[in-house]
């Protein structure tokens, strides 16, 4: 018989879900700048809807307390999570287009802290199911993406267009796309640069005992600087350079803008890549190398047939860390005029418009998660089957 037990992850999600009921589910603002008024779930939704949400969370709590190893129980939290995730957005969006008040033509409706918290809690339920459905191809896919897909459809159909964030988006569609691409270019190219330099440094540190310490001192120090400080540090030397050689300015290289941002971001991305390259070489089994040489491989054959296949997964997981980190850090680069999604965040902060902040922050989060998953997939596929999958050395 199946053992009945407590499923901690689902339970945590359910508890957070219940707590979220204690915060404002939506926020109504007379206009986009004013601070507005928060409403709880029961103030903003009809009683059947409120009841439905409460019931769903109760179910989640129930499955958390009496987990069984059979398939329905592994599936349940994920399905509940997906339904709640869609409901949070759907109900808010519906409220947004159904609430029209002639006295308040600029009324803005957005998801409140409680709403976001509930969405987060529902995501925990989804993750919980994902874990339990390891190896169940279709079901796992269903649990992972059905809610997301529904949200995309909801967004594309224009149903959400009355929500405040979407209004901010519609007002800046062109700008949004250009900042998004600027963000991607900055984050991507900084990691490319860091990959070239970082793998080089890693190999260098590995080969020479003398260089090992200084190399790691350097990359570790860079990593400890707050990103803002590093961006600031870049300004002065670059400004000086561009003053001395005005030609540089024609290429856009000056104290502020993309150039200092790119340099700082590349420096930041160095640590994980250098460290993982170094480690991957460090843990190469000397017996395996000896076998390769002993079988008659030359240097190049050893590199291609043995060293790269064995170390690539670890180097790639360093690049994965660097990418996720770089996508986050690029947000801050907006402060020195490099553009990117951070532009909306800082505009939003300046004007105290929370939804504008979200317009910058939410895509950054989604990008990070998406990139992380994509890299995980790539690493999984590239890792030779004979090795343990996804081994990331501790930092």
């Amino acid at each position: 018989m199946y053992r009945v037990g407590i499923d901690k992850v689902t339970l945590a999600g359910a508890v957070i879900g219940f707590l979220s009921l204690g915060f404002h589910f939506v926020i109504l603002r007379p206009n986009r700048l004013s601070s507005g008024e928060g409403l709880f779930v029961w103030n903003s939704l009809s009683s059947p809807e409120t009841l439905l949400l409460a019931l769903l969370w109760l179910c989640a709590l129930g499955t958390g307390f009496s987990h069984r190893e059979n398939r329905p129980f592994r599936l349940a939290p994920g399905l509940i999570g997906n339904v709640i995730l869609v409901l949070v957005f759907f109900l808010t969006a519906r409220m947004a287009w159904s609430t029209t008040d002639p006295n308040l033509p600029f009324l803005r409706i957005s998801i409140g802290f409680g709403g976001w918290m509930m969405a987060f809690a529902s995501y925990i339920l989804i993750l919980s199911s994902q874990q339990k459905l390891e190896g169940e191809g279709f079901l796992r896919l269903l649990v992972s993406f059905s809610g997301m897909a529904a949200l995309v459809v909801l967004f594309a159909s224009g149903y959400m267009s009355d929500m405040s964030v979407i209004k901010e988006f519609s007002a800046r569609q062109g700008r949004f796309l250009s900042e998004l691409s600027q963000h991607l270019i900055l984050a991507g190219s900084s990691v490319c640069i860091a990959t070239v330099i970082g793998t080089g440094l890693g190999v260098w540190a590995f080969r020479s005992r003398f260089l090992e310490r200084p190399v790691f001192f350097f990359v570790n120090t860079v990593q400890t600087l707050p990103s803002l400080a590093l961006f600031g540090l870049m300004i002065a030397p670059l400004a000086l350079l561009s003053q001395k050689y005005p030609v540089l300015r024609d290429f856009g290289i000056q104290g502020i803008g993309w150039a200092p941002a790119l340099i700082a971001l590349s420096l930041y991305a160095l640590l994980p890549i250098t460290r993982n390259t170094y480690t991957s070489l460090r843990i190469l089994d000397p017996d395996v190398i000896e076998a390769g040489r002993g079988m008659g491989m030359n240097g190049l054959q050893l590199l291609w047939r043995v060293e790269i296949p064995l170390s690539l997964p670890i180097i790639l997981s360093g690049i994965r860390t660097a990418l996720v980190q770089s996508i986050g850090n690029t947000t801050v680069a907006a402060l020195i005029g490099a553009g990117g999604l951070g532009v909306f965040v800082f505009q939003g902060l300046g004007q105290a418009v929370p939804d504008l902040i979200l317009l910058g922050a939410v895509p950054v989060i989604l990008l990070s998660v998406f990139t992380d998953k994509l890299m995980a997939l790539l690493i999984h596929h590239i890792t030779p089957k004979g090795l343990d999958v996804g081994q990331e050395p501790a930092s």
């Binding site: 089994d285 040489r293 002993g294 008659g296 004979g386 090795l387």
Partner: protein, 370 residues
């Protein structure tokens, strides 16, 4: 043939190999043995130029190894490394195919050779070929390591403790298999081991090393019979006389047994040997010449009764196979408290008998020589 001439290898101030000369005739197994750190692995690696000597030179079939590119040289020398070192990201079949691949054999030939090696190693190809090294037991991995070294059918085989990770029982099995393979292939083998019994069993010659030098290089019989100095006699141990016995196959010392089939006239036979006075004992065989047991001609009923007159009802306990050594024979005699035991072949047919007198003769020779 491998000739090592005045070779020295230093690591910094450590002299790992100190002016060694060694000649290994083609088709023979030379066992390198000695305490840990005495330079055995270093000698092996000097032969395939994983290491370069500070002094001296090494010739293979009369050609200086320095005349070849190291990689090309190594592709023609089988190498079993001390810690197996299978490639963890390759399947067992891919591991075996590494050298043929480097030699750019075509796929068909590689495939054929791989299957042949699985058979040679007595491993089920279908079961093992797509496994990864981490899915193998230590013994299986070592066999694959040997198969990988044999893949391109090299004339020379360097084996650095190839059976080190195997328990004693399985090790004997592997040794027997290896000897069978070697009797067909006749490779020139340098075999490093820690285990004196292994060296005595396998080696045509044994090179005993100490602190980078070769202390004695001789056939196992000679080393055991005539240790050149105190170090050698200590190393081979006080029981060297006993160890030496394992060099002598029983098949070379057994005598023709006196036998009678149950279907013959046993009573006539008994009265005949009683008249002659000897031999006192004979072996009774069944109709298929399988051994039933020994009979003492002085204590038999007349007429002869198969049930009552055969001395050992269950004589498998005292029987040895014809592949055994005198050492096995002696231990069987001591264990069972008998002085003469029968020797049988694969089909448990009696092929000879051996008594403690023959063993004494062998040990006396050695004692006289000492």
């Amino acid at each position: 043939m491998i000739q090592i001439r005045n070779v020295t290898k230093k690591y910094g101030t450590i002299i790992a190999v100190d002016n060694i000369s060694l000649e290994i005739p083609g088709g023979e197994i030379c066992c390198l043995i000695g305490p840990s750190g005495c330079g055995k692995s270093t000698v092996v690696k000097l032969i395939n130029r994983m290491l370069e000597p500070a002094n001296g030179s090494i010739f293979i079939d009369g050609k200086d190894t320095r005349d070849f590119k190291p990689e090309l040289l190594r592709r023609h020398i089988g190498y079993v490394i001390q810690n197996i070192g299978l490639f963890p990201h390759m399947t067992v079949a891919e591991n075996i195919a590494v050298v043929p691949q480097l030699l750019s054999w075509n796929q068909e030939k590689i495939e054929e050779r791989t299957e042949e090696l699985f058979r040679m190693m007595r491993m089920e190809s279908d079961h093992y070929r797509d496994k990864y090294p981490r899915e193998l037991s230590g013994g299986e991995a070592q066999r694959i390591g040997v198969a990988r070294a044999l893949a391109s059918d090299p004339e020379i085989l360097l084996m650095d403790e190839p059976f080190g990770a195997v328990d004693p029982l399985n090790r004997e099995g592997l040794q027997a298999e290896f000897m069978k393979i070697q009797s067909d292939l006749k490779k020139t083998v340098v075999f490093v081991t820690h285990d004196l019994d292994e060296a005595i069993r396998l080696g045509d010659r044994i090179a005993l090393m100490r602190e980078g030098k070769i202390v004695q290089y001789d056939t196992p019989e000679e080393i055991l019979a005539h240790p050149q100095n105190r170090f050698v006699s200590d190393f081979v141990g006080a029981d060297r006389a006993l160890k030496r016995l394992s060099r002598f196959p029983v098949s070379e010392f057994m005598k023709k047994p006196v036998v009678v089939k149950v279907t013959d006239d046993v009573d006539a036979f008994i009265s005949q040997i009683r008249k002659k006075g000897r031999p006192r004992f004979f072996w009774l065989l069944d109709e298929d010449e399988r051994l039933i047991g020994p009979v003492d001609s002085r204590h038999v009923h007349t007429p002869f009764s198969r049930e009552e007159d055969v001395m050992e009802a269950n004589c498998t306990a005292i029987t040895v196979r014809d592949s055994a050594t005198l050492r096995d024979v002696l231990s069987r005699m001591l264990g069972q408290g008998v002085k003469t035991i029968p020797v049988t072949d694969d089909n448990s047919r009696l092929v000879g008998e051996i008594s403690i007198l023959e063993i004494e003769k062998v040990t006396e020779e050695a004692a006289l020589e000492c």
